[in-house]
Symmetry: C2
Subunit: 173 residues, 2 copies
């Protein structure tokens, strides 16, 4: 679990280094249709800190399987981030993450706690360990998404190298 | 092209934020077989700064299509990084990237320069603009790879959430 926390603690600085100060065209770029821009992803991460990860850990610890988690709103970021700047979203995410990890530390989770079970509204029974592992993998999933959205703005510009660039060709190889 | 440089300038700090200080188990983790660890990727990026990007730009400007690029050795990182620490690779990459971008700036490339053509040993005719775009996308491709390698160490630990995590399920969605 220390390893998961090591990654969770690094995500705000990683996204800050990648995104802060980039031209707006890039920050707002997406992959077409209703796919998300880096700006949208930051709102989603903020909403997750507020309503998903630590709140769900608390539900597991307090209610076990008797109370299902609240459903996570995957579109809430559009309300979170309306009228905001990317810089203010990066700042807020960093603050919220720090608070989340502080709160997690105060829970002083034991191995037995990590095995405690809760109930996901769609996936059924899950453990606290699975929730915290997912929190970490979810961060990295969105790091991947943001990097991919940025790179794909250059899908045509790379010319024949496209064949070598998995990020553009779409193979994960 | 300013936008590509904006990303290129950010990559060292992004990787530094993501990786520095992570436990060795993670830095050396890979996806099985002869896939690369984050440590291997850093060696690859260093080798690219030394032999690939700016050196190829110079070949285009000096020789055009008359001289093919030297073949890039995709396994050179194992020599580059032998016996090194991750911290020293991060430091070296940051220094080399700064030098590369300084050198790029001194070339004072015009739009006409960006349309100049060179010859890739396998892909054939490419332009300087395509080379520089590829440099940027290549960075992001390896950011994706590193994030994916880290997340996949938790493929089992996330339990039923695996279905929602594209980084683990392998769909790029």
């Amino acid at each position: 679990m220390e390893e998961a926390v090591a990654v969770l603690a690094r995500t705000p600085a990683t996204l800050d280094a990648l995104l802060r100060g980039l031209p707006d065209d890039w920050v707002m770029a997406h992959e077409g249709g209703d796919t998300w821009s880096p700006f949208d992803v930051m709102g989603h991460l903020i909403h997750g800190e507020r309503t998903d990860w630590v709140p769900r850990a608390r539900i597991i610890l307090e209610h076990g399987e008797t109370r299902a988690f609240d459903t996570f709103d995957r579109l809430a970021q559009f309300a979170v981030s309306e009228g905001r700047t990317l810089a203010s979203l990066l700042d807020e995410f960093a603050t919220l993450r720090q608070e989340s990890l502080h709160e997690l530390a105060t829970l002083r989770l034991t191995n037995a706690d990590l095995d405690r079970r809760g109930r996901h509204p769609a996936l059924g029974v899950v453990t606290l360990r699975q929730l915290l592992s997912t929190w970490m993998a979810h961060d990295l999933d969105h790091v991947v998404q943001i990097a991919r959205v940025l790179a794909r703005q250059y899908s045509d510009e790379v010319g024949p190298w496209r064949a070598y660039l998995r990020i553009i060709s779409g193979t994960q190889g």
